[in-house]
């Protein structure tokens, strides 16, 4: 029987990866996977993601994507099936005073994707602004 062996013939590397999130910690795992990729500037990644994450983890995933967009030759992401639902911890983190707290309540009450995305964005801004978690 002839033996077939994979022999790289070009320098660019094509990676197609699917990730299903069941726990927030899996975002850390994905981060490590990105870290250990060789020759990032010659690598093209198509990342298809799905599953459930907390706002905190979803925010972490957003940052991870943004960081690697510039590091990889190409990063194509399909993340529209990743649902980000606020956990008790998220809500505690977002229990802000004044009009921001009112805005959080309004966005939580609206179940549209637009409002959920806005809530996620607010969560991220809060973290970037140095809000205590």
């Amino acid at each position: 029987m002839p033996k077939v062996e994979q022999v790289p013939v070009g320098r660019t590397k094509w990676i197609d990866r699917e990730v299903v999130f069941n726990h927030d910690e899996e975002v850390d795992d994905l981060g490590e996977w990105f870290e250990y990729l060789d020759e990032k500037s010659w690598t093209l990644v198509q990342l298809t993601m799905s599953g459930h994450l907390s706002l905190k983890a979803r925010s972490q995933l957003d940052r991870l994507q943004e960081d690697n967009q510039s590091r990889l030759l190409c990063l194509r992401i399909k993340d529209d099936r990743v649902a980000a639902a606020p956990t008790e911890e998220d809500l505690q983190y977002l229990s802000l005073e004044g009009f921001v707290g009112t805005a959080v309540d309004l966005l939580r009450q609206d179940e549209s994707q637009e409002s959920q995305d806005a809530l996620r964005l607010l969560y991220r801004f809060h973290r970037e602004a140095g809000g205590e978690s």
Binding site: R76, E97, D117
Partner: protein, 879 residues
């Protein structure tokens, strides 16, 4: 906090000055320019906020050439229920600070620290203190030339924070703080990446849209190319099939054309033979029809002759004979009727002569009666005429006319009036006898009276006792008497001229004359009615009638009565008319019969003429048997010719008839069309071949698939960008809405505090504050006017009112001092008077210091304490 006393030493030319008994409310410090108002305000500022340490320029400026010591300020104040004394000395030597409070005295830095703590400011250093280090105090302190500044420029972050804390506490709502502000900034920045302030899309969105649109255009073009190739290939296949089919059709049609041409030649030959035979058959048919016509004509004429002969006989027997009998009868009747008529006419003529005699006799009688009547009338008229002439004579004898009578009446009236006047001028004398006496010799018994009227002087002798002289009237009595006499004479003259006795006689004569005139008028009217044209005409008419009567001759005594003869004549005339009518009826009947007889005779004559004509025609024709034989021969020849034509037509139809002839022509045209189509198809095939080859070389399918993949990717990226943009917009919009709502609630106490003062100057107008407590402007229910657009005076007033309102919030129940150095310089007196009310009111909670060089502007402010600075700085010794 309230200031109770201020003492200045060696302060920029002011050697010593004390503000004592400072009012806890409203204090007014007045003085001309250069008298030290601002220096006192500055001293308080330095005493409270500047450090005594250091020798910076602004502190050096406190000294003056004349002063004998270092600048020093002492301030007594109360806060938190305690009393404090601060004194600060500024200068090269001996500069120090001392704070004395309840049970303590602190020196220098400790004093500064404690004082800063009491005032809520940052402890001052040796450099000049800055506004942002002074908490709320810049808001409370309006320095010279700065009254027109927007009040929020004096609002430090610390003051804002304090106000917002106060507002939050008042409203019971927590402000978002710095974290909230930061988040808001980030949200706005994020939204700004995608949308402009006016809501238009920015580059991330437009670029994503452009990319999708660009790829869609490319894909559309590629798809069009691909479809074009497919269409060209399909067209080429179809054209090739059409060419093959047309080639086959060309061969078949050529073969069909050859056969059709042969058939057409044969059909043409048969057609010519048919035409020849049809011509021969037509000739034979003509002969047959001519013979048949002759036979028919003969039979018809024979039948007509019989019928005409029968009609003539019938007419003679049934119509003419009876009419001749009737004519004879009527002739006799006409003669009888004529005889009766002539007899009736004769009778009537006799009666008519008798009637004429009766009429003439009646005419004579009528004339006689009329002549008698006319003669009587003439006689009567002549009698009337005679009476009229007599009355006219009587009238003429009476000479009084209307004018004379009126003159007499007037004179009589004037005379009576003159006599009455004369009587009025007379003297009436009454003598009543008391005993018997004599007057002018006449006896007057006792108790009797004598009345006398004297119109002229007179005398009266009473017995022998007395003589009475009476002189009536006066000087006019004579002229009155003369007038009466004149009128009386004039009246008498006229009466005499008309042979009258008096006026009554004149009245009677005139009445008689009037009566006669009326009578004459009636007679004349009657005469005119009797003979309007006069008696002469009447006489002429009578003579005319007598002449005519004479012409009528003598009376006819044998003439019948007119009425009787008239009745008889009428009867005879009726009988004559009846006889004439009877004769005319019979005569008319006879005429009708004669006429009908003529018609019938004419009809018989016409029948006989027709019969003679038919007999002549029949004699000219061959016998009937000869014509029948010729008709049989012609029919046989015609049937033979028809059979020949039919045989030839059968052969023609077998070949296809007319179609065989046109088929060749048709197929020739079909073949020509096929060849033209074939040429066109071959050209089309060449073009499509070239097109397909050209398009096939372009990798169309690969390009389309590649673009489809790119489009999916671009649409995904577009969706991601729009999703991010929507999230950013939603977040920013939500935060803005929530912040605006929160601000409205939080700012309500501040705007309320300002509004109550603002209403005094600007009723119905509110101040608009933004979330940072910046004054945006004034607003009404419909519009907002920005602060920068307001006049200098209005800005100054708004600034003071806002400061007062916010200061009241900051002061709470503790109170705070506020300083206005040369404030309201741009405000007119009316507004200043309104400001007085506001300042007087806020002085319940705030301690107000107003420094001004316009005492007249603040006369009505109701200050608790007024300080009027002298022309030069005050120099009061300190004990």
């Amino acid at each position: 906090m309230r200031i109770t006393r201020v003492i200045l030493h060696h302060w920029k030319g002011i050697e010593n000055y004390v503000l004592e008994d400072i009012d806890p409310g409203l204090n007014l410090i007045l003085g001309d320019n250069e008298t030290g108002k601002s220096r006192i305000a500055e001293a308080i500022w330095f005493g409270l906020f500047e450090s005594s340490k250091g020798k910076s320029t602004h502190k050096e400026a406190l000294r003056s050439w004349e002063q004998t010591g270092d600048p020093k300020v002492e301030i007594d104040f109360e806060t938190g229920g305690s009393t404090y004394h601060i004194e600060k000395t500024f200068g090269q030597t001996g500069h120090k600070t001392k704070l004395t409070g309840p049970g303590f005295t602190l020196p220098d830095d400790d004093a500064e620290m404690e004082l800063a703590s009491l005032l809520g400011i940052t402890a001052p250093s040796s450099r000049q203190v800055k506004d942002e280090e002074l908490g709320m105090w810049p808001l409370l302190w309006v320095r010279q030339f700065r009254s027109g500044e927007e009040p929020h420029k004096s609002l430090t972050e610390d003051a804002k924070a304090r106000l917002q804390d106060l507002l939050s506490a008042t409203v019971g709502e927590v402000a978002a703080g710095r974290v909230g502000q930061k988040l808001m900034e980030m949200a706005l920045e994020e939204r700004g990446k995608y949308y402009t302030d006016t809501g238009r899309s920015r580059s991330p969105l437009t670029e994503a849209d452009d990319r999708v649109e660009d790829i869609e255009e490319q894909l559309n073009e590629a798809s069009n190319n691909r479809r074009q190739l497919e269409q060209s290939a399909e067209d080429l296949r179809r054209v090739r099939e059409d060419i093959t089919r047309l080639d086959e059709r060309t061969l078949q049609t050529s073969s069909d054309l050859e056969q059709a041409k042969k058939k057409a030649t044969q059909a043409q030959s048969l057609k010519n033979q048919i035409q020849v035979q049809k011509g021969e058959a037509a000739v034979v048919e003509g002969k047959l029809k001519a013979v048949e016509g002759d036979l028919e004509t003969r039979r018809e004429r024979e039948d007509s002759l019989k019928a005409v002969q029968q009609d003539a006989e019938n007419t003679r027997k049934n119509e003419v004979a009876p009419k001749i009998k009737e004519q004879d009868r009527l002739d006799k009747e006409v003669k009888a009727a004529q005889t009766a008529l002539e007899k009736a006419t004769d009778e009537r003529n006799k009666a008519r002569e008798m009637a004429r005699r009766a009429f003439e006799q009646k005419k004579r009688k009528d004339f006689d009666e009329r002549i008698d009547q006319l003669a009587g009338q003439l006689k009567k008229a002549k009698g009337f005429q005679k009476d009229i002439l007599k009355i006219a004579g009587e009238i003429g004898a009476i000479r009084v006319d209307r004018g004379t009578l009126d003159t007499l009446r007037e004179l009589q009236s004037q005379l009576k009036s003159a006599q009455d006047t004369l009587l009025g001028a007379s003297t009436r004398l009454r003598v009543s006898a008391m005993q018997e006496l004599k007057i002018d010799g006449k006896k007057l018994g006792k108790g009797e009276t004598l009345d006398k009227v004297y119109s002229e002087p007179a005398s009266l002798i009473i017995d022998k006792i007395a003589k009475l002289e009476v002189t009536p009237g006066g000087e006019n009595l004579e002229s009155l008497r003369e007038e009466a006499v004149r009128l009386d004479e004039q009246l008498k003259n006229i009466l005499e001229a008309h042979l009258l006795k008096n006026l009554n006689a004149a009245e009677a004569a005139f009445a008689e004359k009037d009566e006669l005139t009326k009578k004459k008028t009636i007679l004349e009217s009657t005469l005119t009615g009797m003979c309007p044209e006069g008696i002469t005409t009447l006489e002429t008419a009578l003579r005319g009638m007598e002449s005519e009567r004479k012409a009528l001759g003598d009376n006819d005594p044998d003439a019948p009565e007119e009425k009787e003869i008239t009745l008889k004549l009428e009867t005879l005339e009726n009988a004559e008319a009846e006889a004439r009518e009877a004769r005319d009826v019979v005569k008319e009947e006879l005429s009708r019969v004669v006429n009908e007889l003529g018609i019938f005779a004419e009809r018989v004559k016409r029948f006989e003429g027709q019969a003679t004509e038919l007999q002549g025609l029949l004699k000219k024709m061959p016998p009937a048997e000869e014509i029948q034989k010729a008709e049989g021969d012609a029919r046989t020849a015609w049937e033979t010719a028809l059979a020949t034509v039919k045989g030839l037509e059968g052969q023609y139809e077998e070949l296809g008839g007319e179609v065989a002839e046109s088929d060749a022509e048709r197929l020739d045209k079909v073949l020509k069309g096929i060849r033209e189509d074939l040429d066109e198809m071959r050209q089309q095939r060449a073009r499509l071949d070239a097109n397909v080859k050209l398009l096939a070389d372009k990798d169309i399918h690969e390009k389309e698939q590649d673009l489809q993949a790119k489009l999916v990717e671009a649409q995904k990226e577009q969706g991601d960008v729009y999703r991010k943009a929507a999230a950013a917009k939603n977040l920013a919009d939500t935060l803005q809405e929530c912040r605006a709502a929160s601000q409205r609630r939080l700012l309500a106490p501040a705007t309320d505090a300002i509004r109550k003062h603002l209403q005094v100057l600007f009723p119905g107008i509110d101040v608009s504050l933004d979330e940072e407590l910046n004054v945006e402007g004034l607003k009404t229910a419909t519009r907002t006017e920005e602060l920068v657009d307001l006049s200098g005076g209005t800005k100054e007033q708004i600034g003071m009112i806002v400061r007062l309102g916010l200061a009241e919030l900051l002061a709470g129940e503790e109170g705070l001092p506020m300083v206005f150095d040369d404030a309201l310089t741009n405000t007119d007196f009316r507004r200043i008077e309104q400001m007085h009310r506001i300042l007087f009111k806020v002085a319940d909670n705030l301690q107000i210091f107003i420094f001004s060089c316009h005492p007249e502007a603040f006369e009505g402010i109701g200050a608790g304490k007024r300080y009027r600075l002298p022309g030069r700085p005050a120099r009061r010794p300190i004990n």
